[in-house]
């Protein structure tokens, strides 16, 4: 009989019993609803042990990759430690580089701790050591890089971003914990066409995902749309054009809402541009990052244009200028 470890206690799971039934029998009520593997209310993560594949039916590939499973249909085959959230240690690291990418975005590179692993496209929580002020930033680097790269936009009245812009210097120490996030590339289906759409610093996780995709030998077409209000808001333009020149699978489409249109770019509402240009998105895998209302609009439009719900991954950024 497998033992289930949850929040400091051990529970013995009977033969042919699901984890949800086991916990309920012991008086521990996990959130649940349909009890048939459909509604995903009982979604939980195995921190140790491997969930049986059938307990991950219908979950997105990114959740499967992180050992999430459905407690209501999970009959464990081995001891497992389960939890509603992941616990991650804090790392204290030095800033190794600080470079402006455009007038309002700075690139910050942090030394990567040896015991830290992540997937390109995930985010970390950066802390200001003096007072533990914490903000989430997506990683633009690749797990192979020996640094962690963040793209930080100066937010009006933003406590963290203004501190990063005005006070943080190379060789200063910062603290971070993580990683988290479900917006990343899972190897498999290398011929699948990919659509990457980001607004503003939503480019950061996409830049990481793009390099990951190319490193892993993806053979299908990859389209990256980077949107900004106008040309000065775009960044890494030259790097992306260089990748596009070298790699025939990859297309870079800079988009602006108004003003001059960059070479090979588009003008208009970014929520409409990808489906207008590409037509049907049936069969596409889609990654959407940035401003929440635009990400939500893109999610719906990508779905209506034919992309399957299971193939749409998104990371809506939340900006918090006045709290914390």
């Amino acid at each position: 009989m497998p033992t289930i470890h949850f929040e400091g206690d051990d529970y013995l799971c009977n033969e042919d019993e699901t984890i949800l039934e086991c916990m309920t029998r012991h008086g521990v009520l996990l959130p649940s609803s349909c009890q048939s593997g459909a509604c995903q209310t009982c979604l939980i993560r195995a921190q140790e042990g491997t969930p049986p594949p059938e307990s991950q039916a219908g979950l997105k590939d990114t959740l499967k990759a992180q050992n999430y499973f459905l407690a209501c249909i999970c009959k464990p085959t081995e001891d497992m430690s389960i939890g509603l959230s992941s616990i991650s240690p804090r790392h204290s690291v030095k800033i190794t580089e600080k470079t402006p990418l455009n007038e309002s975005v700075v690139r910050l590179r942090l030394a990567k701790p040896d015991d830290f692993s992540y997937k390109a496209g995930q985010f970390i929580n950066l802390m200001r050591p003096a007072d533990d002020l914490t903000r989430s930033y997506s990683l633009a680097s690749n797990p192979d890089d020996d640094f962690l790269e963040l793209h930080i936009k100066r937010v009006p009245d933003g406590k963290m971003s203004n501190w990063v812009f005005d006070e943080l210097n190379v060789d200063d120490e910062v603290v971070f914990f993580g990683p988290a996030g479900d917006c990343f590339y899972v190897a498999g289906k290398p011929e699948q066409p990919l659509l990457l759409v980001g607004t503003g610093t939503g480019l950061a996780p996409l830049f990481g995902i793009l390099r990951d995709v190319l490193t892993q030998g993806h053979t299908g077409p990859v389209h990256l749309f980077h949107a900004s209000l106008a040309v000065p808001g775009l960044y890494l333009e030259q790097e992306l054009r260089d990748i596009a020149a070298k790699d025939e699978h990859f297309t870079y489409i800079p988009c602006v809402l108004h003003g001059d249109i960059p070479e090979g770019g588009q003008q208009g509402n970014i929520a409409d541009i990808p489906a207008q240009m590409l037509g049907s998105l049936s069969g596409y895998r889609v990654f959407l990052c940035g401003d929440p209302p635009i990400v939500n609009a893109l999610r719906q439009k990508s779905f209506l244009a034919g992309a399957s719900m299971q193939d749409i991954f998104s990371d809506p950024f939340v900006f918090a200028p006045h709290e914390g």
């Binding site: 609803s33 048939s36 593997g37 509604c39 779905f303």
Partner: protein, 121 residues
């Protein structure tokens, strides 16, 4: 006798059906205002539960869930005409997936049985 759920091919088929069904619903301007601002993934999971239930698959769906889950929509004006639209989309979805007419009728009669709960009366 096997259920429509089994005949369709179980969980994976329902997953595919949700994509077809939800897309039809969101494209329908008569009903899509009720879906504005909802988390698409949570909504898709609920629809998966609903389709599993109406096709006779394993479920623990209750009338109370249906009533509680739609109360705020009834306040927004949800009525029989909207339910009719949803049932139409369900019919077309099943037809698109090649389900026979008599089985579609069975599924629709199960879905129809939730109407009073959905409309909170």
């Amino acid at each position: 006798m096997s259920t429509v759920y089994e005949q369709l091919g179980g969980e994976a088929a329902i997953e595919a059906a949700v994509d077809v069904f939800y897309r039809k619903v969101l494209a329908d301007h008569y009903v899509n205002r009720f879906f504005e601002g909802v988390d698409m993934e949570k909504q898709a999971a609920k629809q998966k539960g609903f389709l599993t239930m109406v096709t006779g698959g394993p479920n623990n769906y209750t009338g109370k869930d249906m009533r509680e889950g739609h109360k705020h929509l009834v306040k927004m004006g949800l009525n029989d005409a909207h339910v009719d639209h949803i049932l139409c989309h369900l019919r077309s979805t099943l037809a698109e997936l090649g389900v026979a007419q008599d089985l579609i009728d069975t599924v629709i009669s199960v879905a129809e049985s939730t109407r009073d709960d959905v409309l909170d009366r």
